[in-house]
């Protein structure tokens, strides 16, 4: 499959995530759109790692080139799991204080 197709798909998913962050007001949906953007990047990293592996395979049949990309995806997933746990705790705390998850209530940090 040509690498451009994967780039277009990832760009489409990433742009949908950006539009969601810009247009929605519910903090949880904004957070979900951030997850969508992370996943678009993950997909692109895996596609590039396979592209790199295909190029390296032509010269050396036993190469493991491109394995770094897949490990980066693994670490991105690890960091995303930690990020979600802390972020959702922050959203719960915000809901407890202002009884809403509308991010417009966050434009005043005082009080």
């Amino acid at each position: 499959m040509p690498i451009q197709y994967y780039i277009y798909l990832s760009l489409a998913l990433f742009s949908i995530g950006i539009i969601g962050v810009l247009t929605r007001r519910n903090a949880i949906i904004v957070f979900m759109c951030v997850e969508l953007m992370l996943n678009a990047v993950n997909l692109l990293l895996v596609a590039f790692s396979k592209m790199h592996h295909g190029v390296a395979l032509a010269t050396d049949p036993a190469t493991t080139a491109g394995i770094d990309g897949q490990l980066f995806v693994f670490f991105i997933m690890v960091v995303a799991a930690a990020e979600v746990s802390v972020g959702l705790a922050i959203i719960v705390m915000m809901y407890r204080n202002v009884h809403s998850v509308d991010i417009n209530f966050l434009n005043r940090l005082k009080n």
Partner: protein, 167 residues
């Protein structure tokens, strides 16, 4: 058209459609369910690329753990109804236009880039995505980041408990 191409276009259409439905659903629970559909489509892409370990981890971590956490928080706050107030149509239009401009600029950039011409991603072959090879690399070359990520998890756990604690 081979079976791989058919699967690729089907999974791509599923992913983009589900991602759009995440945005336009008014009910947050429906958004979470559509996002799970996106994750399943992306896992299908990983399987097509023969990255089986990442496909399974994506399903377990994202669709299994993270989305359950989202659903749990939504249920906890009793948000499973349409609570979002209508905002100005201009704000939505501005967001959509800026996101579309971003997409257009990058697509035109990729179309012209000479680095990506004639390059293909290897489908179905290549064994770097198998658990054996990834595990070898993870515990030899990447063992320090792996251990550091355990510290990250510990700090995230402590942070979540401290933030979520009442008073």
């Amino acid at each position: 058209m081979s079976i791989t191409e058919i699967l690729f276009f089907f999974l791509s259409a599923l992913a983009v459609f589900s991602a759009i439905m995440v945005l336009v659903s008014r009910n947050p629970v429906h958004s979470v369910l559509w996002l799970i559909a996106v994750f399943f489509a992306i896992s299908g892409h990983y399987i097509l690329l023969n990255a089986q370990f990442l496909a399974i981890v994506n399903l377990i971590v994202y669709a299994g753990a993270i989305m359950v956490l989202f659903l749990f928080v939504i249920m906890l706050m009793n948000l499973n109804k349409e609570t979002e107030r209508n905002k100005h149509i201009w704000m939505k239009l501005a967001g959509a236009v800026s996101g579309g401009c971003f997409l257009m600029v990058l697509v035109s950039l990729v179309r012209q880039a000479s680095d990506f011409q004639e390059k293909t991603a290897l489908m179905g072959t290549g064994d770097i995505g198998l658990i054996k090879n990834l595990g070898k690399a993870l515990f030899s070359d990447f063992v320090v980041p792996f251990e550091i990520s355990s510290v990250l998890f510990l700090s995230a756990m402590v942070g979540a408990v401290v933030i979520g604690k009442k008073e």
